[in-house]
Amino acid sequence: MIEEQEIDLLLNDLFDIYGYDFTSYSKASLKRRIIRLCSLDKFPSFAELRYRVRTDPTYLKRFVEEITVNVTEMFRDPSFYKSLREDILPVLGTKPFIRIWHAGCSTGEEVYSMAILLKEANLLRKSLLYATDLNPSVLEKVRKGIFPLTQMKQYSESYIASGGTHDFSSYYTANYGQAKFNSDLSEKIIISTHNLVSDSSFNEFDLILCRNVLIYFDKDLQDRVLKLFDASLGPLGYLALGTKETLKFSAVQNKFRQLNREKIWKKMM
């Protein structure tokens, strides 16, 4: 059994040696991930995991990848995407240029979903999608735009439920069990590492999507990140969170108004 104090020691190491700050992550989830990694990589004790992390920078890469959650899917919560189609894109479409930030994008399934929406609304050519994550390796997957073919049936159903009327399979080429998404989608995606904990605002956006990322942060860090989003949104910009996340009770709640039943807020001031 791993004690809270041991986890704190490990987190301090990560910050002192590598500058990764996980100290404000939700402890229960972090602990589960660390126990899982200990058994996955067959460490006989927690001390040996800690030693390996301290001394082996290549293992650090795996460690960060595994303790952060990189599960995502295309068109998750179709009603959310329907609202983007019907309520948000028509407003963004009036702008000469559209900047969208997918913060904590993981392997990029949501970024490609967004690119498809923009393409169908005839807005892709004047849009840029910034996809950021703290893991360089997941960003490599975003760059490639290759996802498992086995998922496509479900993604196609979600796409249709989101109001999609095209043949979903026209957006990718199937090969060797993989679906490679078309390059006209990926060429509008700008990829960069960005750590929401330690990095600051880097542009002004019309829409920021950060869905199911804040759940891994404690309340204080959530507040800090929401302030970062506030600082990164232009006037009347939109912020989209996961279905169980909220701006309510946060430091920025008075500056935003929730649009509808979906977790989309508009910046009012």
């Binding site: 229960a28 989830s29 602990k31 599960v71 199911n212 759940i215 996340e245």
Partner: protein, 199 residues
């Protein structure tokens, strides 16, 4: 060292269920006392699309407040919480919830094991876990964790379960304290007394 069941405080009551468990809850919830002195957390396997109608349905069966958990909600006695669809539900040391969208466990998200283990970590011996009907192995590891932390574990009598596999698996692979039918379950839950010390 085992304290009498009646006087041992209950910091949190967890109820896990899969196929066939809703019917049990629909009968159990109306029999529970109003103003429960402990929180109840329901972890049910359900379709991944979030349908908040399940909360309404459960809510109609009890006078206790019933709500689906939002991220970082505090855990408050007297409230019946439902794990949201397609998230794992975790408990934090400060007695609040957090959500997690990591890989499925036992083909399930929410997984009963994940919530039970996490709650046992926080509520230790004041944890009470009940496992209802289901056709899956989920829940057994969670009950083992609760037991190990000094808490109490109950399985629905498989003979009364629409899907006996899940409680049966728990009974044969862990040491559950009690095997109860619906009437016994209701009496047991109504005999539980909240832990005041943690407030």
């Amino acid at each position: 060292m085992e304290k009498n069941d009646v006087t041992r405080p209950c910091g949190i009551l967890l109820i896990g269920g899969s196929a066939g468990s809703l019917e049990v809850l629909f009968k159990l919830l109306p029999r529970l006392k109003p103003d429960l002195s402990f929180p109840i957390v329901l972890v049910l396997h359900r379709r991944s699309s979030s349908d908040s109608s399940l909360t309404d349905l459960l809510s109609s069966k009890t006078t206790n407040i019933t709500r689906e958990v939002d991220d970082k909600d505090p855990v408050t006695p007297g409230i019946i919480y439902l794990a949201p669809a397609d998230y794992h539900l975790l408990l934090e040391q400060g007695h609040y919830f957090s959500l997690d969208y990591s890989e499925k466990v036992n083909f399930s998200r929410p997984s009963i094991d994940v919530t039970f283990e996490s709650a046992a970590d926080v509520y230790a011996s004041s944890t009470v876990g009940i496992l209802l009907s289901g056709a899956n192995e989920d829940g057994t590891e969670g009950l083992i964790a609760i037991k190990k932390a000094g808490g109490r574990t109950i399985a629905q009598d498989p003979a009364t379960a629409q899907m006996p596999f899940m409680p049966h698996h728990a009974i044969t692979h862990s040491e559950v304290d009690h095997v109860f039918d619906l009437t016994q379950l209701a009496a047991f839950v109504n005999s539980l007394v909240g832990a005041r010390s943690d407030r």
